[in-house]
Each structure stands twice: as C-alpha cells, then as structure tokens.
Amino acid sequence: MDLSRLPSDYLQLISAFRRQLRFYLRTLRYVGCLGFVLVVGGAVTGVTIAEGSSMGTAAASLASGLGSIATFGIIFCALIGGDAIAMDFGSGTGYFMLVLPVRRAILLLGRYLGAFVVTVSLVLVIYAFAIFATAWFYGLGGIPWADVGASFLLALLFVASVLATAFFFSSFFRSPAMSIVTTILVLFLGLDIADGILVVTGIEPWFSILYAGEVISNAIVPVAHKTVTQVAGLTITTYSPYQWEGAVIMVAYLVVFLFLSIVIYQRKESKG
C-alpha cells in the first residue's frame, strides 16, 4: 500500500469521532440515561409547575433546576466514558481496533469527543427543563440569558474534565463494569466524603472536581466564597468556589487526566 494513501491524523480523528458517537448513541447506557433524565426532569418540572413553586426569582428558579447537574454530570460521565480504555483490554475490541493503522492517541481523542457530545446532550436536557420551568413562571424575557450562557459553558468544561477523569480511571481496569463502578465511587462518593470531612477542618477542597462543579449553579445565583457557622459547638466552614477558581480546577483535571489517559493508553499492552 502506498503510504500516501494513509489518512492524516486529523481525518482519522474525524472518523474515530463519528464512529464512536454512533456507538455511544446506540448503547443501552445512553438510552437509559436519556430516559432517566427525561422522566425525572419531566416529573420534577411538572410538580414544580403544578405546585406553582416559583422560587421567588428567575435566577433562583434556574439555579434550583440546575442544582443537581454536577451530581448527574458525574454519573453520566462515568457511565458513558468509564470503560473507554478498559473496553480494549477486557474484551476483543482492542484486538480489532489496536491493530489498525491509527495512533492510539487519535482513537482515544475520537472516543473522548464522542463521549463528550453524548454526555452534553444529556446535560442539555437538564438545562431545557430548568429553562422551561423558569420561563413558565417568568417568561422567556425574565431569564438571565448571559448567566445561563456562562453556566452552560462551565457545565461543558465540567463534563470535559469529569470525562477526562473517567477515561483515566478506565485505564487501570480490564473489566468495563469495574471501571465504571470505581469511577462513580471515587468521583461521587469519595470526593463527597472528603468534602464533608474538610467542612469540619476548615480546609477549602480546591482539589475536588465535585467542589469545582458548584460554579455551574453559582454562575446564576452567586454564593459567598466562605461561610462559617457554629453547630453544637462545632465550627463548620463551607466554601463555594469562585467562578475562575472552579474553571481552573476543571481545566487542571481536564489537562492532567486526559494527558495521563493518552500516555497510559499508548503504553498499555494486550497481555491477555
């Protein structure tokens, strides 16, 4: 074969992305997540409208609707991207894909982009319900679109960083199921527990992606950076990230974990 016929990395990235996107859209995981977010979002929005609980202001209504986005974002990212690398070493997929004339970094980035798009589609549904409920009470003109835009950009960054983290975890496992479960446990429960402990010690959890994710709703309703309260003689210090701070934490997660994922994927061997 003439080597000049071999497509560029860019063309192969587009191919990998398109193929991976189609793969994700067909998975039961995605269909299940989409069904879940539609049913739960629809039910919550329906109850909110039926009860007329407008939250006082349009911003508060939006922030309420988007309050759980970090939690759901982590679950979606873990479910969609938690086996991105493990699938090549725990099943025969790697023997099909890794012998092709494509750089592994390109394959991984194609998978990453595919996972990003489908996860964002789930996040968009949450935004759509939050905007719909707010517009119901305050009209489209009452929605602070600039803040919603800023919040959505931060949500995109959040999804990108959590997916990079999920990809990183997936590089340590051969079993896709184990990889997904571990990603959820570490990102969701592990960091949540760490946050809870730090509340008592007064240390800002600047290392936590879960903490950084708070900026998604804070972009619409700002929260004080530091709050100190006394509960039963115990000093509780809670932090809320600045927008820039949250963005920096997320970019750091994105860069570090995506880089590590690529390095590990390139060096990982099919020993089975």
């Binding site: 071999l6 997929t93 012998v99």
Partner: protein
Amino acid sequence: MSRIEVHELSKYFTASRPALVDASFAYEGSGAIGYLGPNGAGKTTTLKLLTGLLRPTRGSATINGIDVAEDPKHAMADVGAVIETPEPYPSQTVSEAIEMVAEFRTGDLRGSREEIAALHARLELPPFDQRTGRLSKGQRQRVVVAAALVRDPRILLLDEPTNGLDPKERILIRNLLNDLKKDHLILMSSHLMQEVTEICDQVIFINQGQIVLRDTVENIARRFQARAVDAEFATPMPIDRIRGLGPLVQDVVVIGERRFRIMFDGTNSARAEILAGLVKLGPVLSYASASLVLEEAYLSLMQGTGNAHVGASPRSSSDVAG
C-alpha cells in the same frame, strides 16, 4: 516489496519466564509462512509484538522497514491482522465494522461498497445490516477476516485464523489464503498441521519462546518424511506380523484395516529392507512416505527427539517467501 523482520526480539512478562527469546527471522515478497508451536510457545506473543499490541523487552519488529514499536501507524499501514479473538463494537453492523477499517486505512469510502460486497460474497458473510454482537463465533471470525482484507493490505498477520470455524468455513478460509499468498505475504500461526501443510510454503517452529527450526515445507518434508512410511496391503494384516519384521521397525501405527504407518531410522537401506519384508507378508498395494510430515516434525521437535536446532538457520536470515 512487502517485508516482515524480527531481530533478536525478546519479550519477558516476568524475569523468570520469558515468552520470547531472541527470535530472528525475515521474509519478503509473497507467500505463506506457518508459525507452529504448542500452547504458550510464543506464537501469539510474536504476532502481538509485530502488531504493536505488546512492546518488546529488547530487539525489534519491523514491517516494511518501519519499527512497529516506534511508529505503529505507518508500520501497520499495509497490514491486515487477526490476533486472538477480535470483536468489532457489538452495536456495529457487519458493513459498518468493515467500512470503519476501510476508512481508517484510506480516509474515504470510495469503492468500499463494491469491495465489501465482493468480500461478502467471497467469505459468505452474514447480512450487511446484522449487528456484530449478535453473530456466532464463526460468523464474527469471517467478518474480522473480511475487515483485515479490506483495502487489500499486502501483509497478513493471522493468529490461528480458522480457530472456532466449522469444516466448511475452514475450507473457505484455506482457499482464500491459498489465493492470497500468490501476491501477499502471510504469516499465520496454527495448531493444525494439515492446514499449514496445505497453505504454507515455509514454516517456523517455536517452542518455549525459542525458534527451533525454520525452513521450507519441502525441506522439512524431505527430512522428516524419511523417517516414516505408509504401507497398504491388499488384505487385512495383523500388526504383530509387521512388528515382527525385526529391529528395523521402530514403531507401527494402525491407520486403517489394511494401512499402517511404520517408523524407522530413515536410511534408504532400512526403507528397502522393510519393503522387502512387507512383500513377504502379503501383497502390498502401496508403500510411500508418510504424508503428515509437519505433524511428524512438530512432535519430534517438541519432544526434543528430532533435529532441533540443526536447521534453526538453514537459510540466510532473509528469505524470499514467494
């Protein structure tokens, strides 16, 4: 010209148990090379090193002069590989799985429909729109072989390509490989001596991570055929009467009511004396060298009773396969 070369290639999974030790061989042009050895001998390890699925502990594996570990994309540009049990994404249809490979190899799908249709007919693939996750093992294997062949790469690295196939499917793949070897370079591992005999021109025997013999099938046949003959009598013959011919007969195996395989020391004089003895026992219809020469060579080499190492480098380090 297509070229595969491994040079002092070694792979250690643990320090005490090497999977491959200083393997060296080179082939170029066209033809089929059989890679034979027992389970765990290092066949699949070699093929994985040649496809970048493993990284060498030392030494190098190059394809068309490009080191696989250093630049796998360009090294694999002209290679179709079936290693272990590959599985396309289960949600992909048969045509999508093959198209994807075509797209990665050439960047577009021009002519791919016709090409895939031809492969479909040739390999009797399942329907185009069937999901690969719902295929039987044999169907999936044929799809994977089709994917390895799409865009016509000139080098094929095949790890037991007929594994899991039924006899009809095996014949299909065998005939395909016999056609392809005319203008492709094929390195295939197999447990099936008959298959290797029918497809391959050259053979590499590997045992415990070391190449113990490398030669043409013809030369191996000459060496090992000489040590066994098949005799057929016109009437049934008790095996004890053949054994009774004396010390020249080392062993006798029944392969039919009137057919026997007789092992001896391989000399022409012994061969002639045994024939003379058989004729005295009864009318002999045929007397010829045993046909399963590779099996004979394999057993002999793996049991350490043969000419191991004698022919480890019988030819120059670079063999023209075709």
